[in-house]
Subunit: 540 residues, 2 copies
């Protein structure tokens, strides 16, 4: 248990005690590997110049001090994702200065918001030799417009902070959180095109306006933000001419210093549901029943169809279900699931509206889902079941850290990598994905702990590759397993929508040469010295 | 009437009889002004080479033959928006060849889908010397997935064609049309970030996946489109890495040859409403009452708040309301409006759902709008009122050409330029916009024929500048008036979301130097010979 507790403290600590963590005095140990073409003198010059901008206490360039930015949770058997420094600016002007210094010394900088990208590498860079540009000190909530339902945030703001602000000011707007919401950043999650659980769950869809420090040090505002006196920066997404906000998501073309987003008005009535299906083979029936409800927006939120094993892994240890040396068989899972009020697949969604609208829609939904073999459950039946409670909280924009429990599933734990291939929302395709994933995971000795996020028309198959990172052999196996998953799914036309820093190039290759060349063309034009986050999404 | 009838025939003809119009034999007259740096020999070489690709009957390079692409409707007192040629490919491979030829001869090409961009310049290029790349022959509906509610189209497909396809195949999906939907192109309208009237009215939001011929002649597919074997190209918008689709909207970075889009499932019940307000000064009350209903998605569609004068101009001539030489005063408008069942502002929206959901929402909406001073009307009261019928048709994705009537409002007619500044959806701001617009229009002797499109959180103020294009003096005045509108609104922070080919640079300037420089940087990188649509959105 202590491994998990330590992890948990570190994750919380790096968020809540960020300033203190950053404030550690640096020792003199040299960093291991500098970036290609960066000499020791360049690196030292960059660190010195950055210190003169942010103060000695907010910039480090030695191996000991960068530890808070080095914990990845993902497989990294060759330890290539360790940064060589970290710098934490407090203002946009300081960001501009840091970018100019990086250009001068050709020193790459890896931008993070709060660095809690759990299962994708946290704060760690994709390639060696980078200084982490940590934005956590820029944590102001610049504006919330209660009438329009909009907010303007700096990247260091956490979901918890935004939620607290809304609560304290009695503003009846909801947030939409991803996993580990309390410590994560709305800006960071949106820029990584993360997904949550309410009707505003497609975070990039609800983003509106950005301020970006470009690699040349200039400040650009997108959408209506560059119009002097405009009140529409957070109201109208597209602006005029080419829409460029998308360029700054999952990429390395600029440092986002402010981001606008839309917030959902709190509905008068919120009613969460869970549909329980009892067989692994129910996958196609569930998805084909859910799809028309999602396409027609009768179910308005991004729903999660959770496998029992994923759910059990949140609150249990693997050896409570099967002995360590045995595969996780369906019978054992089913038994444990049943004992905890769960089926083999448990699909969570909600209705939002008034008593009347919810009452009008519920029978339609029951009429569609019951014939799929599901038991449609509500709070009346599920009461305070912890799994139901977990999703009930998330689907109303509530916060919890329950998913961190995944890290202690196996042995001393601490290993988690998300694999997230995309498909159209069709049952047959999902069934084939589940089957392929299980065969690859089985082969490498890992469990199928997975969910499907059912979007408006797409599926994100969210597979948690859980391993014991304290065991080097297992970490190596997990690495091989992950790469095989990416490769074999790619051959079937299923590529990832997002991936960890350990596999960004691998996934990018699946999107083909023309797309890679186009991204490279943009990168060369916008960031000719390649100083911003090289390796992000496979763009060097 | 004959002026209008001629216009109408031309517009319809160019759509329905496109091939015949294109098939006119070219005469030998030389084009007036070639593009900067293009010699007569280059131009002749480009035309000859393009003819060898598409055949003589689909490529022209003389002044007479390009007339079908020269009618702009917008003010163009100095006739700078006349193309020097036109070419109509039938396949993606032909587009690639044309792009290569354009590069070879440095001959700019101006891409249109069907060229029915009414009030924004139709098919005409922003700068002199361009050959129109007319995509109307590429008009295949490549796929409609009835389960997912998606379509994949070529740019020459019209809304009418898509509607007919759905009807003929009994596919219960709706389209969402802009003004002059029957002859316009879903691809062209979406790429110009046009807006319609149903819950799928923000067309770019419902776009999913593109195929683009890049200026280097390569074919790029966006989103999931580059993954071999993917079934998610039209299901999942974002793909992996930087999201680039936005780069190809309102811009000149590529030629879109295929576009995916989402279609709304036909709801069991559709109920259109009109709220009648009787005073010009009701603007802020209406918008402040509508905003919370829109933000909370209780009203799900893009609604139009139409001024009486705009509505009258669709079906009446100005001299039926006031004599030609008199200003259009509010009393006369009010009288004419009343006689036709209209108020001074008439706001159209609809509910979509089941009998039960519509019945549950209607009282909430009535409870919010009636206190704003509005009379909430439905089909029961408005019956076959032609204006109600018009919006009822549009809000269920129906097609009509009623708005072409605007072209005959004044004198021999034929002059229309949309001015479309953006604001946040707040009453006070709209009131100030209406007041400023009226004072500028009055000064130049034009009428305030306007509407507000109330988006999710924004307002598009849609002002129809209607003038008699057969009168050169009036065209000149309209030009001056339009420029003053853009300039004076800009000073207040209200810039346009979209503009005609006559004012693209003027509007781009309002978005500031950093943004223009960034667009120029992208243009230089992606299209180093500047052969694609120079001048589009002010990007040369």
């Amino acid at each position: 248990m202590s491994g998990f507790e330590l992890d948990r403290r570190m994750m919380l600590g790096a968020g809540a005690l960020g300033a203190a963590a950053l404030g550690l005095a640096g020792c003199k140990q040299e960093p291991a590997t500098l970036a290609p073409g960066v000499s020791k003198a360049d690196f030292a010059g960059a660190i010195k110049a950055m210190r003169s901008v942010v103060g000695d206490e907010w910039c480090f360039g030695d191996a000991d001090s960068v530890k808070p930015w080095s914990k990845t949770y993902i497989p990294d058997p060759n330890k290539v994702h360790t940064p060589v420094g970290a710098v934490a600016p407090a203002t946009v002007e300081e960001v501009q200065e840091i970018v100019r210094i990086a250009n001068k010394f050709k020193q790459p900088i890896w931008t993070i918001s709060t660095g809690k990208n759990m299962g994708y590498g946290m704060a760690a860079p994709a390639t060696p030799g980078q200084i982490v540009l940590d934005m956590k000190r820029m944590n102001r909530i610049l504006e919330v417009d209660a009438d329009l339902g909009t907010a303007l945030l700096e990247p260091g703001v956490t979901y918890q902070q935004l939620k607290d602000y809304l609560d304290e000011n009695n503003i009846p707007l909801w947030i939409d959180v991803p996993t580990v919401g309390p410590i994560a950043s709305p800006v960071g999650n949106t820029l990584d095109r993360g997904v949550g659980y309410t009707p505003y769950g497609e975070h990039f869809t609800f983003q509106c306006g950005m301020e970006v420090v470009l690699p040349n040090g200039e400040i650009m505002r997108t959408g209506m933000g560059s119009i002097e006196g405009s009140t529409a920066w957070q109201a109208f997404k597209w602006g005029y001419g080419p829409y460029v906000d998308g360029l700054f998501t999952q990429s390395n073309f600029g440092v986002v210093t402010k981001m606008g987003m839309w917030l959902m008005p709190k509905p008068p009535v919120y009613k969460p549901f869970m549909v329980r299906h009892n067989n692994m083979d129910d996958v196609p029936a569930i998805i084909d029943a859910m799809r028309p409800l999602r396409v027609a927006s009768l179910i308005p939120n991004v729903n999660l169809m959770m496998s029992a094993s994923y759910q059990l892994a949140m609150f249990k240890r693997r050896n409570e279900i099967v002995p360590d040396d045995r595969p996780l068989d369906d019978d054992s899972v089913k038994k444990a699931a049943k004992a905890n009020g769960l089926g083999m697949w448990n699909t969570y969604f909600a209705l939002y509206g008034t008593e009347q609208t919810v009452a009008a829609i519920e029978p339609i939904i029951r009429g569609a889902l019951t014939p799929s073999g599901g038991e449609v459950m509500t709070e009346a039946e599920m009461g305070d079941n912890p799994w139901f409670h977990h999703h009930k909280t998330l689907m109303e924009g509530g916060l919890n850290l329950d998913e961190i429990g995944l890290l202690r599933w196996r042995g001393a734990g601490g290993g988690l990598a998300w694999f997230a291939p995309v498909a159209a929302a069709k049952g047959k395709e999902a069934q084939a994905q589940t089957s392929l994933a299980r065969s690859i995971l089985d082969k490498h000795g890992f469990d199928y702990t997975a969910a499907y996020a059912i979007g408006w028309r797409d599926l994100h198959h969210i597979i948690a590759l859980l391993f014991d990172k304290s065991d080097p052999a297992q970490e190596k196996k997990a690495d091989a397993c992950y790469r095989e998953l990416v490769t074999e799914f790619g051959k079937k036309g299923w590529a990832s929508y997002r991936t960890g820093v350990n596999s960004m190039g691998l996934v990018a290759e699946q999107y083909g040469k023309v797309n890679r060349d186009f991204n490279a063309l943009l990168k060369n034009a916008i960031d000719p010295n390649h100083i911003l986050s090289p390796g992000k999404s496979g763009i060097l």
